[in-house]
């Protein structure tokens, strides 16, 4: 056959030698592929950069900066006016209330970001075929999901640090006192974001981007309404409403996490005044926070299992 003639003409052993050299140079890596950590970091980096290139992130960042400017101006104006808020206690009360409203809006923005930036990462790459060139490389599939999750979680952390960290800093500087629970507040808000991220990614292994985003935001809405029902029930002592609220928190603990956050910064006055969307009458327990941590972890594990099983 003709190809045997070609093989004789070719410098017979140099490609083989080259190949042997290449394999020797790369060592065991050639046979096993990159390790778990390396794969995860590679995917996290590329996902972070991919997310950072989206317009939605920059629009959200611009919105966050505008938001901070607005908040700062508002707090500044309030504290400098010599009306009813002249005593230190009243000033703190006022700052905390404005801070809570700001963080509430920020947490909604962050939740949207978590769902909207990640909803097409798996489904989109499966349908476009981008994933085919990646998944045929010697990498563990679960590392791909973990890496992507890490990339998005990193992006969300930065966003939370910007918008929520910004609010906390402004409130501290203007109010001239450090908020005692700042770190806890940031952690709770980050937990809320990665919770929604995990759910979106798990949906994204099976459903289209649009469906995945809709499911996550739907659950978020359910938790929001459930939280209201629970607070109302607590005020009026209607046990059924409280139970419904708890049930909705078990289905999606995002609102419970927000109420826990609100409790950390809530001025006593607001708590006494009764229910509001920003505050918290019923404080979700530590058990609910642990439940949310487990929920977030399970969502990620579910995403991994579904992605491992599915045909690409």
């Amino acid at each position: 056959m003709s190809e045997s003639a070609i093989r004789v003409q070719a410098p017979a052993d140099s490609p083989e030698q080259q190949r042997a050299q290449l394999q020797a140079a790369a060592g065991a890596a050639v046979h096993g592929g990159p390790g778990i950590l390396r794969t995860t970091i590679l995917l996290a980096r590329v996902t972070f950069r991919e997310a950072a290139r989206r317009k939605i992130l920059w629009i959200a960042a611009a919105a966050a900066i505008l938001f901070l400017v607005l908040f700062w101006t508002g707090v500044h104006a309030m504290l400098r006016s010599n009306t009813s808020l002249s005593s230190t206690v009243n000033q703190r009360e006022g700052t905390s209330m404005m801070l809570m409203m700001a963080l509430y809006a920020a947490s909604m923005l962050t939740s949207m970001m978590a769902a909207l930036t990640s909803c097409d990462t798996l489904s989109g790459e499966i349908s476009s075929g981008t994933i085919h060139a990646i998944a045929t490389k010697p990498v563990r599939r679960w590392c791909l999901v973990l890496g992507k999750w890490t990339g998005f979680a990193g992006m969300l952390s930065l966003y939370i640090l910007l918008i929520d960290g910004g609010c906390l800093t402004i409130a501290s500087v203007e109010g001239r006192h450090l908020l005692p629970h700042a770190a806890a507040v940031l952690c709770l808000l980050l937990l809320q974001a990665v919770l929604l991220l995990g759910v979106t990614m798990a949906c994204s292994t099976t459903f289209s981007a649009l469906t995945s985003g809709a499911i996550t935001l739907g659950l978020y809405g359910l938790a929001f309404v459930g939280g209201w029902i629970e607070q109302y029930g607590a005020l009026r002592h209607v046990q059924t409403c409280v139970n419904l609220g708890i049930l909705s928190s078990l289905i999606m603990p995002s609102d419970a996490l927000w109420r826990r956050t609100a409790f950390k910064i809530q001025p006593p006055l607001l708590g006494a005044a009764g229910a509001s969307p920003f505050g918290s009458t019923l404080i979700p327990s530590n058990a609910m926070v642990i439940y949310a941590v487990l929920y977030a972890a399970l969502a990620l594990i579910l995403a991994i299992i579904l992605f491992e099983r599915r045909d690409l």
């Binding site: 056959m1 190809e3 070609i6 093989r7 070719a10 490609p15 083989e16 190949r19 290449l22 140079a25 790369a26 060592g27 890596a29 050639v30 046979h31 096993g32 592929g33 990159p34 390396r38 794969t39 590679l42 590329v46 950069r49 991919e50 290139r53 476009s128 075929g129 981008t130 085919h132 060139a133 990646i134 998944a135 045929t136 490389k137 010697p138 990498v139 563990r140 045909d311 690409l312």
Partner: protein
């Protein structure tokens, strides 16, 4: 060293009640270039995805390099160019290859040396720093080729590599396939362009409705019955009579003599017979069956879409 690089036995894939691949049984030898042909919807893509471990077969088994398909160690030794190769479009060509090289577990210094060579080889040396967002379809296909061979694969899977490529690009693919084979690699080529397959492959499999219906050694089908067109003058009736010993279905229309022989090896005999009978021969053209004709006759009439 094992002689088989791909060994698939009765692979089957059902999607719900629909059967995408009914029975994929094929063996590919080391160093071979194997063409995989079939009409749209015949199950080619599902077949290639099963061999790559992207899709889990419903039943059957397949070995690549003597290991189960999808095994990570196997994946380190294969390369794949997906159909319509697409990637994060903000990466530059060299960043893209670097990323895929890292996914293969290759060492950094090795990649730094290799990437410029690879990009040069696929004709993108000057474009290495440009984001692939600005690339044409043909350029994307070239980057895709480069990422497929970054790890010097033992088996190279190419899914429609020449779709979207201009003639120069198609020649590049042919040359690359040849180079990879000289290196000792096996090439599995899935293509619609029969001409490309005809020029590059040793064997072809035809797949229809999820079944491998025929496997041909390239050119072997030429050995069968051949139609010949001969331009002649002064053919005596007795000459035609004596021709019947070596040829069949003889028809003479004016100066054009058409007949069938059992293989091209009978041609000198036909010519001798004509010349000895006093005829004057101007040209003898055996009609070779192209891969396309073989494909169309094997597949049967187009059922329509």
């Amino acid at each position: 060293m094992a002689t088989l690089t791909i060994d698939a036995v009765r692979l089957r894939k059902n999607y719900g009640t629909r059967t995408a691949v009914r029975d994929l049984t094929l063996q590919v030898k080391r160093g071979e270039a194997f063409g995989f042909l079939g009409p749209n919807g015949a199950g080619k893509s599902t077949s290639i995805k099963m061999l790559l471990g992207l899709v889990k077969p419903t039943s059957g088994r397949a070995l690549l390099l003597d290991r189960p398909v999808g095994d990570r160690e196997v994946r380190a030794r294969i390369g794949f160019l997906p159909e319509h190769f697409r990637f994060y479009d903000w990466l530059s060509a060299s960043e893209l290859i670097l990323f895929h090289g890292r996914l293969c577990g290759l060492a950094e210094d090795q990649l730094r040396r290799k990437i410029p060579m690879l990009l040069e080889r696929v004709g993108l040396g000057a474009q290495h720093a440009k984001p692939i967002r600005s690339f044409s379809k043909g350029m994307m296909q070239r980057v895709g080729l480069a990422q497929a061979i970054v790890n010097d694969p033992e088996i190279l899977f190419l899914d429609e590599p020449t779709s979207g490529l201009d003639p120069a690009g198609r020649k590049l693919v042919r040359d690359l396939i040849r180079e990879q084979r000289e290196r000792g690699a096996t090439v599995f080529l899935n293509s619609h362009l029969l001409g490309e397959v005809e020029q590059s492959c040793d064997r072809v499999a035809f797949i229809r409705q999820g079944n491998v219906i025929a496997i041909h050694e390239m050119g072997a089908w030429q050995a069968g019955k051949t139609e010949v067109e001969i331009q002649v003058s002064r053919v005596a009736p007795s000459t035609l009579e004596s021709l019947r010993r070596v040829a069949q279905e003889i028809r003479l229309e004016g100066r054009m003599l058409r007949l069938h022989v059992d293989g091209e090896s009978r041609l000198p005999e036909v010519v001798r017979c004509l010349v000895e009978g006093g005829a004057e021969v101007y040209s003898v053209v055996p009609h070779r069956v192209s891969l396309e004709e073989l494909f169309l006759s094997t597949m049967g009439p187009d059922p329509g879409l």
